[in-house]
Amino acid sequence: MNGNAAVATTVFGVFMVLTVALGLLAVRGRGRTTGIAEWSVGGRSLGTVFIWVLMAGEGYTSFSYLGAAGWGYNHGAPVLYVIAYMSCGYAIGYVVGPTLWSYARRHGLVTITDMVAHRYGRPWLGTAVAILATVCLLPYIQLQITGMGVVVSTISYGAISLNWAYFIAFAVTTGFVVVSGLRGSAWVSVLKDVLVIATLGFLAIYVPNHYFDGYGPFLDRLVAEKPAWLTLSGHGGSGLDATWFATTSFLNSLTVVIFPTTVAGYLGARNADALRRNAMLLPFYNVLLFVPMLLGMAALFVVPGLTGAGSNLAMFKLVVDSLPAWAVGVIGVAAALSSIVPMAVFMLVIGTMWGKSVLGTVPALAGRPRRQRLAAQVVVVVAGGLALVLTYLTPNTLVRLSLISYEGMAQLVPMVLLGLMWRRLTLWGAVSGLVAGGALVCALVFTEHDPLWGVNAGALALGVNLVVALVVSWLGPRPVDDRPDEEVLATDPRPADTRAEESVPA
């Protein structure tokens, strides 16, 4: 191990220890006494600031460092869809967040699968959705493990091997999430956000000055030499044109508001207003996403000729090339935490869904929050371990699955959003729509017809899903459900409701 590697690795190691310590510190005096609601949704007690860092933390993953720079390098402008859908999603979260929050609070629910089971009055539906969502989420855990592995290996100048880096990613994340749950993830998010904002802010100024004598010359050169990268559909015949951009951003903006990890953040809020304030504040975070995209394009001039997976390292090549070892270490930590925080919330959500909606239906666990919590923690270790083992053994299996993750999850939108607001959507309507939409996504993606005629396959499937759901609701059987509308449907809470609900124990 040479000097640079020793310095960068030490910086990295110190911060990893700090991360676990923070996660453990977060639950001091709270950990032992409570059930699944404390662990899964932080006892519904997080204020505006914690919700901000947590939700920003979930949205800003290792993709932002690697994939965003890599897409910027390979294609250019199409990658901006990430900013478009996150901004639109945060905006409609102004209504959706408080609505889901108050619904969950009123009925003592802790995950999206719980809500579905309550809305349609069928526990098995919660179980089925939990399994489906797990299949969609596992690939994300693996992507975070591999993303962090690549970063750690690069910033340690190769001193930490990929396989060890994968293991560190798994161990650190599982270590604190099992003990501290959502609250610990929020605390670690604070450390992460400070580092991410500081390092990206620094790189945004430093890189153009170091390589191009400032932004003016950098942008001039970009416009003059690489115009293909600067409009849709980008460079390299990607087929990612304006139709694709608009349909994908639209679909993802709907999906992100019901994504199980986003919902975990919503449900952790102390009150509905914390979520409304966040809908205003969160979009600012997206400004940071421009940095890796621009730096990915800067890398076109500095390290030309990266191909395949190598292009994901476009930004890190610049970092390692131009900065001293300690700074490389700090930037690596920021990127590693950008894997750890979302991974922690993904695992937490999988654990919660299984603890409540799958294993919670087992008689020995039903109605016993503490045992459900223990079961959930076991599931976290199993799910994380499974993702790790698959990373080592068959790295491509989950990558292939990840192709359908987001578009597959999008098919839950009618069942969840429409279902919670409109009583006449029936159980069988929602299920038929989900099956039809899910099947169409799988068919189009696995036969490589995504996008089809420029339109995102998930968006097409969502249209089919919606039509099937409506037709079956109108013509199909109507399950008997005597509960009043207030019991079944969700509404955006008024301030008076909010105050009344605050006295109800979580």
């Binding site: 945060y90 905006a91 102004y94 942008l219 409009t231 849709l232 639209f250 409304r276 400004v287």
Partner: protein
């Protein structure tokens, strides 16, 4: 929704990011050196919080928040 028309502000990001794409998808004119599409999407990113703020202000005026 009819009781809260100010919530229509929440759709402003869709217009800014997606509705205007046919017009905004161009390199020139550059603004402060930025290619036009990047400038436009950066502006939309900064205007999104403002749109949500207008929705929030509407709620506050009607005593909902």
């Amino acid at each position: 929704m009819l009781k809260r028309p100010h919530l229509l502000w929440l759709l402003a990001p869709y217009v800014l990011f997606l509705g205007t794409l046919p017009l905004a998808d161009r390199v020139r004119p550059t603004v402060m050196g930025l290619p036009f599409l990047f400038f436009w999407l950066l502006a939309a990113t900064l205007l999104t919080p403002a749109a949500v703020f207008l929705a929030w202000r509407g709620d506050r005026k009607r005593g909902r928040v």
